[in-house]
């Protein structure tokens, strides 16, 4: 069994977001880049599955659609424990371009389980996993919070309104995973970092070079208003403020 984990290169979650070019582009100056947190959890679960004695996973590959500047993030995935990596040499201007380029590679190089994070922490589109499955004409399961391999079948828990759904699927398929799939991501060890030097990172040409979306402009969310304290005894004032000032009731 071969596993592929799709990883996105995103700004560190503590990054102060700024824009350039009259608010039409993200300012990447000084930004620390990381593996998208949900993708990192997917990789962690894939490694746990490979290490479990009752599964027969041969390799874990990570794939990223992006320019050469994303390679440190890919190397980190190799240092964490992936066996090899692929970089589709393309900009990733929108979810379509990412999913179509992933599909282009996977059609030629099939995998049994394809992991995608439910979301990427930069654009929050939640689109790539579903699109990828459609392009590949494979089943997909979304919001997966638990995943185990039992023989040729994969058993999963999926978060639904008010509870969780347990389901199984044969392979190949796309698993779109969310928080809970693994407890916490692994930190690369010094040995892992050294070994990552020798692991293959294959750069392949893009299958498509178009985007279906154009970003017109960006804006930051309005800053939060200062917190207003109301005496616990003064319910009338609280109701009045909620009604007339906050206008929420």
């Amino acid at each position: 069994m071969k596993i592929l984990v799709c990883i996105s290169n995103v700004p560190d979650t503590t990054t102060k977001i700024r824009f350039t070019d009259n608010n039409t582009a993200f300012d990447a100056a000084g930004v620390q880049w990381i593996i998208n947190p949900w993708d990192e959890l997917a990789l962690t679960r894939a490694l746990e599955l490979k290490e479990a004695s009752d599964t027969s996973i041969e390799t874990i590959t990570v794939i990223n659609v992006g320019p050469q500047s994303t390679e440190p993030t890919i190397r980190k995935a190799l240092a964490i424990g992936a066996d090899d990596a692929v970089r589709v040499d393309a900009q990733a201007p929108d979810a379509y371009a990412v999913a179509a380029n992933l599909a282009g590679y996977i059609k030629e190089n099939p995998y049994d389980i394809i992991f995608c994070g439910i979301d990427s922490s930069d654009y929050n589109g939640s689109l790539v996993g579903g699109m990828l499955a459609e392009f590949l004409e494979l089943p997909s399961v979304s919001s997966v919070s638990k995943l185990d391999i039992e023989g040729d079948t994969v058993k999963m828990n999926r978060e639904i309104d008010g509870g969780s759904e347990v389901l199984t699927t044969p392979t190949p398929f796309v698993a779109i995973v969310q928080k809970g799939i693994a407890l916490e991501p692994r930190i690369p060890s010094m040995r892992g970092i050294m070994m990552a030097r020798k692991k293959p990172l294959n750069v392949v040409p893009p299958a498509v070079d178009e985007a279906l979306t154009e970003f017109i402009s960006y804006e930051l969310p309005p800053s939060k208003a200062a917190c207003k304290m109301v005496d616990a005894e003064n319910v009338k004032e609280l109701v009045d403020l909620l009604h007339n000032e906050a206008k929420v009731i």
Binding site: T14, A79, S189, M190, I193, M194
Partner: protein
Amino acid sequence: MAATVQFEAPDHFLMDELYTDEHKIIRDSVRDWVNRSVKPVIEEYFEKAEFPSFMVKEMGEMGMFGPFIPEEYGGPGLDFMAYGLIMQELERGDSGVRSMASVQTSLVIYPIWKFGTEEQKQKYLPRLISGDIIGCFGLTEPNHGSDPGSMVTRFVDKGDHVILNGAKMWITNSTIADISIVWAKDEEGVIRGMIVEAGGEGYSAPETHGKYSLRASVTGELVFDDVKVPKENLFPEIKGLRGPLSCLNSARYGISWGAVGAAMDCYDAALRYAKERKQFGKPIAGFQLQQKKLAEALTEITKAQLMSWRLGNLRNEGKATAAMISMAKRNHVDMALHIARETRQILGAMGITNDFPMMRHMMNLESVITYEGTHDIHLLITGAEATGIPAFY
């Protein structure tokens, strides 16, 4: 998933552009580990004066002991820049945690690697690197600190073994160590090094209590009362003070990086607080006297970061002299101690509590400025280098 501990490293001169991608992964990995395993618990261990022993296994698994040791002895085969960055991040967590790792790497693993026989390397290095066994280093004695050449610990040759007598003091890791690297004089008064396994007859390692500094690390003595040490545990070639001093060089190199980490932690915490804390209707970061403290701290940290990066390259090239390392250790620890004191003031009364790291760093750094060559002795090393005239005695 990003760690919940907030930390933003000051990088005013875009130092990140000078490090390789691999160095940045190394630094960030240790930073993540410190955020996950050290920061949330360190104040509690410090307060209880307890060594967080679980960290040894984790640091071993992470490969933080002996990072420059080649693969054939179980190391990851990284360079000295990597070692420096690991020390920087560990001391951002706590000087005591960094001290434990410093001793294991520079004072135990390093001499076995440099001076040990092939059998000694094969026997001890893999287990020291994995953290399965802990080491300590015995040079300083109750009456011989800055003047180690006057040591009185001695051994006599008894054929297939030697008999060791004496006492060592201020030994990090002493009570938890499985082995110690002991420097002692032979019958001709020549200083030799040997590996002493803990627990034999006549061996004891009493703990030093009542420390206001490095409380999350173990300090103690090593007492040898007719301790029998097999001859094969002696380092075969190295003689004189050159042996222990080369270990101290490696350790001081790591300390110089570590101090920058402690300073960065204090600066980051104070900057965050100063931007949030409001007085007279605006953040205190907007007042000139607070900006003076922050601006000076950032300037000194930036200078130290540049110096460390250069020193790392020189050490990789085999060109970092003892005097260069001495200058960096002295400058950086003094800088960090000053920044700990100044940034604590920014926090006002809050600064004295264990909700913030300054007091702990400040107390720890009082040891760091004293051990591995005191602040004054390092000044004399630079003085001797500049003038060509030693003024130690």
